[in-house]
């Protein structure tokens, strides 16, 4: 067991910083930036937990991990048991420990957050998951007896994987269909290696396969098979759509089709999924060495893109954002990492026009200076143009990271699936039930572009509801009951 510490003693313990690669070193490689805790650090950090009677951290977790219990087990050096506790609620902890915005979730809700610094729950989750993987993998995860019911999950991103994990453990026969050649969705095509190594994703996917989840890559549902065919011809009893919001938005200004203008999806896919960063890569990418690369946007994807460009030699690599740093949706850790790596931030600017040469290559961008006005619906102060304050800068490559719209592919083949004016699928936020019998949906295709953990939460809520539907066979929207 861990040390018996008083509350006062615990409050005095300092938060354990995680080692990271030095900025000079990491800005020229694709290895992971954060290096993880040692077991000693993990125990020291876990000892900071006050083991609250009413743990608010758990309320802050979208998937409701029993955080107090797993942290207690870490403090007691029972790392394997800690992993089991986490995996009751989250089967992808090595991923979540790395990419969740803990400062807004569990750690933001930690009682220590107000007067002290919160327990580093994300770092501990990551440590436990990595420790378990490096020490022979999980103990046999209990699964319920086979039900004989079959579920098709469309999309192997966070929503689909989380849904698959719960359903397979409930005894259902689960097949996940993935359009790309690799599993993980945005976890492999979007989030860069230096933030989430693909090996980590592969290991967590492999654990699902070990539990009996079947995976089919290169299968674009809607094209090779419609939803109706999955249900009627292939004998699936339910379908979960976790296809993500995969249609990149562009800037809507002249010149966005010039050579040198990428969507963040394309840029990151070429580099991450297709490994354009590696020597001898088969997939081409424009040469960024000593080129000026401008990334439009202020979210995590924008940070991923600009830091990727930096690692490919871009100098300068800059963020162009229409509000100020305070309004950036990116995690503060990502912004801090980007700055340490020498990324320039130019805020309160909006593109008016992308400029090109006679051969159609990008050469620059015309920018409009902005100021903050009244708050908008999101509560953030709305940027507005300062009339007449415009200027141009020279850039060689632009990456547009201003979000994604829902991919229309599914709708084209399932017109009976109700959608919103924005093209997202209408689904009950609690149950994931859509307008179509036996079809559930969750993640970005329902909410629009959000986060990995929110998608996982939606996948898990849908799994509960799918399990219930498979058992009762009753399909009724809540509003009708």
């Amino acid at each position: 067991m861990g040390r018996d510490l008083s509350r006062r003693e615990r409050l005095k313990l300092p938060r354990q910083d995680m080692e990271e690669q030095a900025p000079e070193a990491r800005s020229v490689n694709f290895d992971e930036v954060n290096l993880g805790y040692t077991p000693e650090q993990a125990v020291a950090e876990a000892e900071r937990c006050l083991l609250c009677a009413h743990p608010t951290c758990i309320e802050g977790c979208p998937v409701g991990i029993d955080i107090r219990e797993f942290v207690r087990l870490v403090a007691a050096e029972r790392f394997g048991d800690a992993a089991d506790v986490i995996k009751r609620d989250n089967f992808l902890p090595a991923i979540c420990g790395r990419v969740c915005p803990q400062e807004d979730q569990c750690e933001g809700a930690c009682v220590l957050a107000k007067k002290y610094t919160p327990v580093a729950i994300g770092n501990l989750e990551r440590f436990v998951a990595d420790y378990e993987r490096d020490h022979g993998g999980p103990l046999a995860t209990p699964t319920l007896p086979e039900t004989g019911k079959r579920v098709a999950i469309v999309g192997s991103g966070p929503a689909g994987l989380a849904c698959a994990a719960d359903l397979v453990r409930a005894g259902h026969d689960v097949t996940v269909f993935e359009a790309l050649h690799e599993l993980g969705g945005v976890l492999v095509y979007g989030i860069p290696e230096f933030r989430l190594p693909k090996e980590i994703v592969r290991a967590e996917v492999d654990q699902l396969a070990d539990l009996g989840v079947r995976f089919e890559t290169n299968a674009v549902i809607g094209m090779i098979e419609t939803i109706d065919e999955l249900l009627a011809d292939d004998g699936y009893d339910a379908v979960f759509l976790g296809v993500g919001a995969g249609l990149p938005r562009f800037l809507g200004v002249p010149g966005e089709n010039l050579i040198g203008v990428y969507s963040a999806n394309e840029f990151l896919t070429r580099v991450n999924l297709m490994r354009a960063y590696a020597a001898g890569a088969e997939t081409p990418l424009l040469d960024l060495y000593r080129k000026t690369v401008a990334v439009f946007g202020g979210g995590n994807t924008a940070m991923d893109a600009v830091r990727t460009a930096r690692r490919l030699g871009a100098a300068p690599a800059k963020i162009l954002y229409r509000r100020t740093e305070a309004e950036m949706p990116a995690r503060s850790e990502e912004v801090a990492h980007a700055k340490a790596e020498g990324i320039d931030f130019e805020t309160l600017v909006a593109p008016i026009e992308l400029l090109g040469d006679d051969d159609g290559w990008l050469t620059g961008v015309g920018l409009q200076r902005m100021e903050l006005g009244e708050p908008d619906e999101s509560g953030r102060r709305r940027p507005q143009a300062i009339p007449g304050d415009e200027y141009e800068i020279a850039i060689d490559v632009a990456v547009v990271a201003i979000g994604n719209d829902p991919n229309p592919l599914i709708h084209k083949t399932a017109p009976d699936l109700a959608q919103t004016a924005w093209g997202t699928i209408v689904a009950d936020p609690q149950t994931g039930r859509t307008s179509k019998v036996a079809v559930f949906a969750g993640g970005d295709i329902v909410t629009g572009g959000a986060t990995v953990i929110l998608a996982m939460g939606a996948g898990r809520r849908a799994a509960v509801s799918i399990d219930e539907y498979l058992e009762t066979g009753v399909w009724q929207a809540e509003s009708e009951s």
């Binding site: 674009v220 050579i259 999806n265 159609g360």
Partner: protein, 285 residues
């Protein structure tokens, strides 16, 4: 892995493959394509589905070796396999009873228009084929086209076979002769497609072209294949690949397709021994 069950050389560096892909063979419709990875770390390349046999479970791909990936693919033989393929992708050709239809294929483009010609003929259209090549050896699929067309006009740039001239010269001739043409479908090099659009525009003949932009995922996710049609940005992979020829910005397409010219050239060096270098290396940008 998808096994190659038949190969045939159609023209210099142009090869016909039958590849096992039973589900794609059952699902595909004329005008659709697949994305192929030849090797495990290879790039993803779009290839039109030239033909398919749902019973036997194969699809036909016709490949022109231009870059490293297509040239690697063209070295494969029966019994070899491509690493994986995904499809069918893209919107199928719009098949209706138009009346008299002229299907125009330039070089490898004939492989793109051929399945649409078959579908148009089956839908009751009178289909006329114009299939062009630089010289005789580059005219492909003539017998296959003859099987579904009422007339097939091979054309060659050098006059070594068939009509001496461009496909658009032959198309113009048919139009001048007063034959009624209700619909034109064309695929081939960008300048050829643009020329077809310019020939049919004054006569107001509905014309579609099958575009061939650079792609990565093929499902609308990356936007690399964006083209401008009627001033609007469209994604060829999910909105196309066929678009109204009179609205396509061909210059933009040609430019964007040249994005990686230097990359292609320099990584093609391992193939240089096969073929004397005919062009100056492009400038690296």
């Amino acid at each position: 892995m998808n096994r190659i069950v038949e190969t045939r050389v159609l023209a210099p560096e142009v090869k016909y493959f039958r590849v096992e892909a039973p589900r794609v063979a059952r699902k595909r419709r004329a005008g659709q394509f697949v994305i192929v990875r030849v090797t495990g770390n290879g790039e993803r390349i779009p290839l039109s589905i030239a033909d398919a046999d749902p019973e036997a479970g194969w699809i036909a791909l016709i490949v022109q070796g231009v870059g490293r990936t297509t040239r690697t693919l063209n070295r494969l033989e029966v019994g070899d396999a491509v690493h994986d393929l995904v499809g069918p992708l893209g919107m199928p050709s719009e098949i209706r009873e138009y009346g008299t239809v002229v299907v125009v294929g330039g070089g490898i483009g004939t492989a793109v228009v051929f399945p649409t010609a078959v579908a148009l003929a089956e839908a009751g259209n009178e289909v006329i084929g114009i299939i062009g090549g630089r010289s005789r050896e580059f005219v492909i699929l003539e017998d296959e086209m003859r099987a579904v067309c009422v007339d097939v006009y091979p054309t060659t740039d050098d006059g070594s076979y068939g009509y001496h001239g461009l496909v658009t010269d032959k198309l113009t001739e048919l139009m001048v002769a007063g034959d009624r043409i209700d619909y034109v479908m064309a695929a081939g090099p960008v300048p050829m497609m643009r020329a077809v659009a310019e020939v049919t525009r004054p006569a107001g003949i509905d014309t579609v072209v099958s575009l061939n932009p650079i792609m990565v995922d093929g499902t609308g996710m990356c936007g690399g294949c964006r083209v401008s049609v009627g001033g609007e940005t469209r994604f060829a992979c999910v909105d196309g690949p066929e678009f109204d020829a009179h609205l396509v910005d061909f210059e933009l397409l040609a430019r964007r397709n040249a994005s990686y010219g230097a990359f292609e050239f320099y990584r093609n060096e391992e193939f240089a021994a096969d073929e004397p270098c005919r062009v100056d290396p492009p400038a690296l940008r």
